[in-house]
Subunit: 207 residues, 2 copies
């Protein structure tokens, strides 16, 4: 655990409460934590659901390698300690977004249970939705849109999750999407239905 | 500068563009960077403007010691290196919020020009609004709501900005609010007018 260093900090109540925000917005700020092997479809899925939410009038935002590794976490590599700190910071930022009333997606491999559970612990019950992007390693390796599995096979990438680094399946994710059995539209729909059923977003208007 | 460590990252276009978000929201995501001495009124001002924006239908969020020092940056203390990293991370997170279409306030002393300029550089021109919370050290010390100036005078706080650590005034802030001359309502109104004039938020409806 990271130790609390600063001690001369006090808390005060913000003038706009979360309840007020959500009443105005008509949807809730939550963290949708998508985890899975490289090339299992995490980022694509997140952006697809973001699009559907946008059309439903809900503001969401996707945190993924694109906007985190080049910015906030550009000082971090892929050692176990750096991966740990990477996920710790992402968990904190996602929590801030949810607190701000945004539906925050994270799309990172996040291979360790302990790291994901720590991210979960920052949020109230029901505010952290773990989505397991389940896809066989064989299928992930075949897709390989960024050529990472191929590089790892050649030994050019060390500590590559699925080949030379472990991935710990989530034991009890809120949602499991099987991206090697269903298409993108079906998997995205599964997440949308969950959000509706839990009252996180309003139900779609009947056409 | 922090070096870029991760190299096997590619960029891809998000499916919801910033333009789309802002067209729907009818306001723009920006960073409002409030800087000034301890007890100059940064956080109070940020929350006051947040309230006014909320009533105008604009979503904003305040990053300050309360939600950053206990979370994302709880591994950092007050050494020059840690202060530097503190502000670097805050700059990155504020930029993410603005990218998500939120009006992001930061309310940190942020005493060094270089650190503030680096935070600015992450954003497109016009998307970073530096607000100098100008207040005489004497007035700040008299207010001292958290008793920090008093502690620093007793030597209980080291590297305290205004006493034992420097504060570099912003040479060209977008806005200067003189919190020792005008009241909270007036200072908040000054920021609201700026945001209206620059087309960042819609003008208030005539009553």
């Amino acid at each position: 655990m990271t130790e609390q260093k600063a001690t001369n900090i006090t808390w005060h109540k913000p003038l706009v409460t979360r309840e007020e925000r959500e009443k105005k917005n008509r949807y809730k700020g939550v963290v949708i934590w998508i985890t899975g092997l490289p090339s299992s479809g995490k980022s694509t899925l997140a952006h697809e659901v973001e699009r559907l939410l946008f059309e439903r009038g809900c503001n969401s935002y996707v945190l993924d390698g694109d906007n985190i590794r080049h910015g906030l976490n550009k000082d971090l590599g892929f050692s176990p300690e750096d991966r740990n700190e990477n996920i710790r910071r992402i968990g904190e930022v996602a929590h801030l977004f949810a607190d701000a009333g945004v539906i925050a997606f994270t799309a990172f491999i996040s291979p360790y249970r302990e790291d994901r559970d720590r991210a979960r612990s920052l949020n109230e019950p029901g505010r952290f939705i773990e989505v397991f992007c389940k896809c066989s390693p064989g299928e992930c390796e075949q897709r390989d849109p960024k050529g990472l599995w191929a590089k790892a096979r050649k030994g050019e990438l060390k500590e590559f999750t699925g080949i030379s680094a472990p991935y710990e399946d989530p034991p009890e994710p809120e949602i499991t999407v099987e991206t090697d059995k269903y298409n993108l539209e079906e998997c995205a729909g599964q997440i949308m239905r969950y959000l509706e059923e839990k009252g996180i977003i309003p139900a779609a208007a009947v056409k």
